[in-house]
C-alpha cells in the first residue's frame, strides 16, 4: 500500500505548482484541485494499464 503515499505527495506538488502560477487563494485552490484530479486520474489509468499488462504476460 506504499503507493498511497504518493497521494499527499501529489497534493503538495499540486498546491505548490499552482501556488507559483496564480495569486488569488480561490484560484490556487480551484486550480490545485483540478491539477490533483488530473494527476490522480493519470496515475489510476497508468496503474490499470500496468495491472492489465501484468495479468496478460
Amino acid at each position: 500500500m506504499k503507493f498511497l503515499y504518493f497521494i499527499p505527495l501529489a497534493v503538495a506538488i499540486s498546491c505548490v505548482y499552482c501556488g507559483t502560477r496564480y495569486e488569488r487563494p480561490a484560484v490556487i485552490v480551484r486550480r490545485s484541485a483540478g491539477f490533483l484530479g488530473k494527476t490522480l486520474g493519470f496515475m489510476v489509468l497508468l496503474y490499470a494499464i500496468l495491472y492489465a499488462i501484468a495479468r496478460l504476460v
Binding site: 503515499y5 501556488g19 507559483t20 502560477r21 496564480y22 495569486e23 488569488r24 490556487i28
Partner: protein, 304 residues
C-alpha cells in the same frame, strides 16, 4: 473573467527570496502573501519531514563515502550533490545541518575506539559467550550500563551492567574491558560498544550464561541527537538502512528531493511573483494556453 488585480507587492525581492530559501514560505510571509506562505510551508516542510520520518530520520545527508574523499574539489562536491543532497539542500535550514555533520563525521578525531568520559544509561544488546568449546549468542539484553573510563588509557576503571535477559530474568555483571567502540558521531541513533566480560565470576545458574567461560557483551547505547541526525552513513550503515526500510527508503528520498525542488519554485515566486501575469506584472487567472485560446476564439468565430 474578473478584472486583473494590481501587481504583486514583492517588497525587497532579494530578501524575500533569501528568506524563502532559508525557511519555505518565510519570504511570502515577509511580503504579506500569507495564504501562499502557509501553503508553501505546510506542503514543502510536510513532505520533507514525512520523507525523513519514513526513513527513520536518516534520509538527509551530504554523502561522505571514503572513495569520494580521494577526489579533489570541486569534483568531489559535485559528486556529493549529485547523490541527492543537491535537491535536499533547497529545503532550507532544516536540511543544512547535513553540511556541518559531514564535516564533524570526517574529522580525524571521530574514530572508532574513542570513548571519552564515562557512561551511565540504558544499553541493549546481545551476549556472546563460550561454553564447552562452542560459541553461543543470547539476545535482547536490556538494562543500565555504567562505565567509568580512564581518560588516558580509554579503559573502564569500573563498569557494570544491570538488567534483564531475553526472558526477563535479572542479569548483572562486571565489565572487564572495552573491546571495541563505534565512533562518537555516526549515522545511527545507536552506538555499538563491545565489552569483554569475565564470566568466570558470574553466578547465574538460572540464565543462558550458566557455565559460560569468557564472554562479550555487544551493547548499543543511545547517541545524542546532535551526534547522529543528518550524519552521512558509511557503507555498513547504508546497507542497514536498506535492510531496515526497503523500498520505504527510496520513497523517503524521493519525498525529500521533491520537497527541495518545490521550494525552488516557491523561492522563484517570492522573487518574481506568480508565473502567469500580464505585461504590467498583474497576476492573471488564465494559463498562457487558455489566454491564447481566448484570443483566437473571436477570430475563429469571425471567420465562420
Amino acid at each position: 473573467m474578473t478584472d486583473a488585480p494590481p501587481p504583486v507587492e514583492l517588497k525587497n525581492r532579494w530578501l524575500a527570496a533569501f528568506l524563502g530559501l532559508v525557511v519555505p514560505g518565510l519570504g511570502h510571509a515577509y511580503q504579506g502573501r500569507k495564504f501562499k506562505a502557509i501553503v508553501f510551508a505546510v506542503s514543502i516542510l510536510g513532505i520533507f519531514h514525512w520523507g525523513q520520518a519514513l526513513a527513520g530520520w536518516r534520509a538527509v545527508y551530504l554523502d561522505d563515502d571514503p572513495e569520494l574523499r580521494r577526489i579533489a574539489q570541486p569534483q568531489r562536491l559535485v559528486r556529493q550533490l549529485v547523490r541527492g543532497y543537491g535537491a535536499q539542500m533547497f529545503n532550507g535550514v532544516v536540511a543544512w545541518p547535513a553540511v556541518v555533520q559531514q564535516r564533524r563525521n570526517a574529522d580525524p578525531d571521530n574514530r572508532e575506539g574513542r570513548f571519552d568520559g564515562g557512561f551511565d544509561g540504558t544499553a541493549v544488546g546481545q551476549f556472546q559467550f563460550g561454553r564447552d568449546g562452542q560459541l553461543f549468542v543470547a539476545g535482547n539484553y536490556r538494562g543500565r550500563l555504567k562505565l567509568d573510563v580512564d581518560p588516558v588509557l580509554g579503559r573502564p576503571t569500573e563498569g557494570r551492567f544491570e538488567g534483564t535477559d531475553g526472558e526477563g530474568r535479572p542479569v548483572s555483571f562486571e565489565v572487564d574491558e572495552i573491546s571495541r567502540v563505534d565512533p562518537p558521531i555516526g549515522a545511527s541513533p545507536w552506538r555499538g560498544i563491545w565489552l569483554t566480560v569475565d564470566t568466570d565470576g558470574l553466578d547465574l545458574p538460572e540464565t543462558e550464561l550458566a557455565g559460560a567461560n569468557g564472554g562479550m557483551f555487544l551493547a548499543e547505547i543511545r547517541r545524542p541527537l546532535s551526534d547522529w541526525y543528518q550524519v552521512p552513513p558509511d557503507r555498513r550503515a547504508k546497507d542497514a538502512l536498506h535492510h531496515e526500510f526497503g523500498t520505504g527508503l527510496e520513497i523517503a528520498l524521493v519525498f525529500t528531493w521533491v520537497a527541495g525542488f518545490l521550494n525552488v519554485l516557491a523561492v522563484w515566486d517570492a522573487f518574481d511573483g506568480p508565473a502567469y501575469k500580464d505585461a504590467e506584472g498583474r497576476p492573471v487567472e488564465l494559463s498562457p494556453k487558455e489566454q491564447k485560446k481566448l484570443r483566437t476564439e473571436p477570430e475563429g468565430e469571425a471567420a465562420s
